[in-house]
Amino acid sequence: MYDLFALSGTLGIWQDNYCRSDFPRCERYIRSQRGESVAKALLPNGKVLALAPRPAR
């Protein structure tokens, strides 16, 4: 997740609300605790980052 968000200051907003406070409700944390794979684009609120991909070169 850090790789994906390392470029933006809005990362801090998500970290303040999930990582540094109510992390038990973070969907990424929940899935990792279950041993499930965690998609890079999965946000802590359970939604997937809506990306507009460009075609692979």
Binding site: L4, L7, G9, T10, L11, I13, N45, K47, P53
Partner: protein, 190 residues
């Protein structure tokens, strides 16, 4: 052969870590680069679409606004440097090898050999196929361990410990401890 003093190596590592942070905007790490290269190759082989950093930032900004009601554009900070590409990672690896090679040449410690000359290792695993299998198996275990720990001696030991990251302190203590135990165990087995 003349080896450089240990503190010269320490200063070089420190300089490399600081320079990497200043120039690349990220903490220095090695094992993650292998992962990035392999992941990029896997995505390319699978024909998966690639997403630009700008697209990711914009998507994150939009979802942050939707989740927290924060106006897009504040308090978003200007993005740091672009995510390193697989080519950048590969270039770093080549640089590591080249740097070691140059120093070895300069200090007269470059002694290429096709045989395993360390007596301690040979006493444990021999010098033939068994030694090769032992080395390969050890390498595989190192690779598995670094991915499980999310880093290696550079990411955890050099950067993580210096910045007092709890996960890095635990990982570094674990692999140093395991190395010490393994060393004593090998002494007994020899």
């Amino acid at each position: 052969m003349t080896y450089l003093p240990f503190w010269a190596g320490a200063l070089a590592l420190c300089g490399a870590a600081l320079a990497h942070q200043a120039l690349v905007g990220r903490a220095l790490g090695v094992s993650g680069r292998f992962t990035a290269i392999v992941e990029a190759a896997r995505r390319r082989a699978a024909g998966e679409a690639q997403v630009s950093d700008a697209a990711m930032i914009e998507a994150l900004r939009a979802m942050t606004e939707a989740e927290f009601g924060i106006e897009a554009g504040e308090p978003v900070v200007a993005p740091r440097r672009e995510t390193p590409t697989p080519a950048t990672h590969a270039l770093f690896m080549v640089g590591v090898l080249l740097g070691a090679f140059v120093v070895a040449l300069a200090t007269g410690t470059f002694t290429p050999s096709a045989t395993l000359v360390d007596p301690g290792f040979a006493a444990f695993a021999g010098t033939g196929a068994g030694a090769i299998a032992t080395l390969f198996s050890g390498g595989v275990l190192v690779g598995i361990g670094t991915r499980m720990a999310g880093g290696c001696t550079s990411g955890h030991g050099l950067i993580g410990v210096a910045t007092l990251k709890p996960g890095s302190l635990v990982a570094t203590a674990a692999f140093f401890g395991a190395g010490i135990v393994a060393s004593f165990a090998l002494e007994v087995l020899r």
